[in-house]
Symmetry: C2
Subunit: 358 residues, 2 copies
């Protein structure tokens, strides 16, 4: 079977950086080899820089972004704990599901899909929640929810945010925003294959960890004992994926975080203007649109699945189907990580023009 190299403009995975693909092929080391442990330490240091935090407990969870979500919740949420969750998309819904399985009393703050959640609604939803949780960049809708005001107003609550699609693409300031728990995924704006979930936890949150969380695999006390100086074996680290993340973070930090945010912003603006010129209406609320993930309505009469398939088979470009209220009528177009380059924006706009004219 021939191999195809797609231009990955869906909601993730994005195209990995060439340096990352090289790193995957690096010879295997044992998970307790001093060389691997040095590389793991450096990876955690790089993650701190990217999360903009000094949190000692900052590491890659051995699973995909959703594993990061589960690790985040299961360590701070126990039976009966009140958790306020903002829900304006698929991943807010998922947070409710995960928190419920931890035994939480979930207080939902719903907003229409495609609109941002007003921070004051989250802050006012309950007088004394243990956790306030929200998705920073909703991959299902292309909407950015404001986080900074939540940190300022959280009081005794822990602030838990999903940065799967935001980290590396738009500003994420864990310490400055007073975020307590944040997790991400490797396959979006970090330009690394899917398989790891970067995660960071404040000392304040660590002091409030539940005793013996419901998950052994995601027990951050035990994982921290392997990643930290104790080096106590917990589970075998996914060595090749750590190589890949290490390399991807190196590319990002060499470019500079601000430069990466600028690049995503420029690509996103060009793409969004171009799509509107083609007659496609953007679905996300003005002022809260993610540059790295654009959501559009397709023109009436266009068979979305057929058009999407044509982009894939004739041009080798993947875009994502809409979900929820956008299913069958909208698309999600990612421009993240190594994919976020002008040439890909130009290619997609031209290809889309041809497909819509056909």
């Amino acid at each position: 079977m021939p191999l195809h190299d797609r231009v990955l403009m869906g909601p993730g995975p994005s195209n990995p950086y060439p340096e990352v693909m090289q790193a995957l092929a690096r010879p295997m080391l044992g998970h307790l080899d001093p060389e691997f442990l040095a590389l793991l330490d450096e990876t955690c240091d790089r993650l701190r820089q990217v999360f903009r935090t000094d949190n000692p407990l900052t590491l890659p969870i051995s699973g995909t972004g959703s594993a990061g979500m589960e690790a985040a919740f299961v360590n701070v949420v126990g039976p009966g704990d009140v958790v306020v969750v903002g829900v304006n998309g698929l991943f807010g819904e998922r947070m409710c599901d995960v928190a419920t399985r931890c035994g939480a009393e979930v207080v939902r703050v719903d907003e229409e899909w495609g609109r941002a959640i007003e921070p004051s609604r989250l802050l006012d939803a309950h007088p004394s929640p243990k956790v306030i949780a929200v998705v920073h960049a909703e991959t299902s809708t292309g909407v950015r929810n404001d986080v900074e005001q939540l940190g300022a107003g959280k009081g005794d609550a822990l602030l838990l945010i999903d940065c799967v699609t935001s980290l590396g693409g738009i500003p994420v300031e864990v310490d400055a925003w007073r975020v307590d728990v944040a997790y991400s995924g490797t396959q979006k704006c970090l330009g690394v294959p899917p398989g790891l979930a970067p995660l960071t936890v404040s000392d304040r949150a660590r002091e409030r960890f539940v005793e013996r969380p419901r998950s052994w695999y995601f027990d951050l006390g035990m994982i921290g004992d392997y990643v930290g100086p104790a080096r106590r074996y917990h589970h075998t680290a996914p060595v090749s994926m750590v190589y890949a993340l290490h390399a991807g973070l190196g590319v990002l930090l060499d470019e500079g975080l601000e430069a990466s945010w600028d690049r995503h912003e420029r690509c996103g603006s060009t793409l969004q203007e171009g799509l509107e010129k083609l007659g496609l209406a953007l679905t996300a609320q003005v002022g809260h649109r993610l540059p790295q993930l654009t959501t559009v309505w397709l023109p009436t009469g266009v068979d979305e699945a057929a058009a999407r398939r044509r982009l894939l088979t004739d041009y080798g470009i993947e875009v994502g189907a809409g979900v929820g209220p956008f299913a069958g009528r909208g698309w999600r177009i990612g421009c993240m990580g190594h994919t976020a380059r002008p040439r890909n924006v130009s290619l997609l706009l031209r290809a889309l023009e041809e497909v819509l004219a056909a």
Copy 2:
């Protein structure tokens, strides 16, 4: 920093097959791309062949071997369920911990580390357990526990086994032995980097899944809806690691399962005889020794950490420290997957002779 290519003779990871390293570099595909889904289907088919099962629910869990353990327990064990667990090593202990976090009433059947558990003791431990669980190949001790008699005598119980170190290295017969849930890891006898946990579940066990398991990430009902014909998105598959597993299983099936078992057996026998000739006593019970993982006592007076470090730095060979009662006095020497070749056995025996003479 220079790259080192170790000879990995610890308890895992082993050296991946060259074909696997190549597959890691395969261009990224989306997790819903028809080409990726075809490759995932083929991977599941190959897993069925390697597990010797027709179970439709056979797939790689997106985490390391311990994620497989958690996925196995969390879907069949709910609060109050009685689980009989055989404990003669670290991974039996871990099973108790994981089952307890699922809310189980755990009935332990302990045996000395280094000895196998008599199957009748597991069958007689409780009149009506929901699950009987045991580690097939104890990575901490190098001991094989018998499984076949458990399947024959399990009655209404579900039989759950850990095949992390056995799969591909010694016979594992899921259907013939009437095993209900089995999981493994990629980084042992499959010759693939760590990061995925092959898992298979009988229809009988599926019918007895707990409702809404405590873990969202490991919810096999939902994962099955993505891997199966529904193709419903659950989490983003770790694409590169699935490429690697697909390739590793291809190498194994091209060689033939029986041929792979023979190769592991021959390497293990030669290694164990050679070690005894060097004056190192084997620690595992005769008749239950794993060929792929050999445990030895070091001669009195040898500084185990120094000798192990010398093997690593002077020869580039990794062997594993002993754990539990063997810590500081014993080693674990793996000969698994692509590592299981005569040249590595010869190299280690010669290098060890030199190190012990020094």
